[in-house]
């Protein structure tokens, strides 16, 4: 069974601000520590797709772009990532050819989980 190439990223305030500009998502929950401290989250959390993008990088580095079909990725956001966390994206192939995929924090806890099917070499996913 194949595994996706592992991709890691340490989350810090600078990265959150850069991603806010890239995504046009300046929700104060992501960029304003004072406001975020007053919410049920208790502090700033990272944009979900900031971490998710690591999974897509892992997919491209491992299986490349779609060929003859579409890559399909279905994920759920399980818990927030916070400043100081180190995200690690990966995945492992299943018997049916699909992949179980994830992004986990430095404690091994799932931040994002899902399944993916890839179009490789003319096989529609």
């Amino acid at each position: 069974m194949r595994a996706l190439e592992t991709v890691r990223l340490a989350i810090d305030q600078d990265k959150l601000l850069r991603y806010a500009a890239l995504s046009n998502d300046f929700n104060p929950l992501h960029v304003d520590p004072v406001f975020a401290a007053t919410t049920p989250m208790g502090g700033v959390i990272a944009h979900g797709t900031l971490s998710l993008n690591l999974l897509f990088e892992a997919i491209e580095r491992t299986v490349g772009m779609p060929v003859g079909g579409s890559h399909v990725v279905d994920v759920r956001f399980k818990r927030p990532a916070r400043i100081g966390d180190v995200m690690e994206a990966g995945g492992v192939e299943q018997a049916d050819g699909s992949f179980v995929v994830w992004v986990r924090n430095q404690h091994g806890e799932p931040v994002i989980e899902g399944v993916a099917c890839f179009a490789e070499g003319g096989t529609d996913a």
């Binding site: 995504s23 046009n24 998710l52 690591l54 772009m65 399909v72």
Partner: protein, 140 residues
């Protein structure tokens, strides 16, 4: 990045009651310029892995279009799930037409659940090359 919204955003936060399954929320043109690629490289440490935009630009472009068109949003929304279908990625500098529509909505266990679809195409009306469906707990 000089995005061009085609329909103006609503003046007040969108509410659950306003969503109509099957109805488009709007469209826009996305543009990727060198500044955006610089920001990406500074964040993720690479600019491209091939001839096109990175595969990881798919989530970025979809969320950027959704947040621009489905706006403003009430505070407290929670993005819980996402499905992507990617046929191919555009090249940097290619025009990208984005449309956002409501696929479904339902109230389950007291939660207002809205599914929005964002489709990216090479021009308005063309078949999508990237599609994303977001499941969101809508706050009100």
């Amino acid at each position: 990045m000089k995005d061009v919204p085609i329909l103006a955003a609503a003046p007040e936060p969108l509410t659950y009651d306003q969503f109509e399954p099957g109805r488009s929320l709007g469209a826009m043109e996305l543009a990727i310029d060198a500044e955006m690629l610089d920001q990406w490289e500074a964040l993720y440490g690479y600019r491209s892995l091939g001839a096109t935009l990175p595969l990881a630009f798919a989530p970025l472009l979809l969320v950027r279009a959704m947040l621009t068109i489905a706006a403003p949003r009430p505070p407290g929304n929670i993005h819980v799930g996402q499905t992507y279908r990617i046929e191919r990625m555009p090249r940097a500098g290619d025009p990208i037409a984005a449309t956002v529509s409501c696929v479904s909505k339902e109230i389950r266990k007291g939660r207002r659940i809205v599914e929005l679809e964002v489709a990216l195409a090479e021009r308005r009306g063309a078949p999508p090359i990237v599609t994303g469906n977001s499941t969101i707990f809508w706050a009100r």
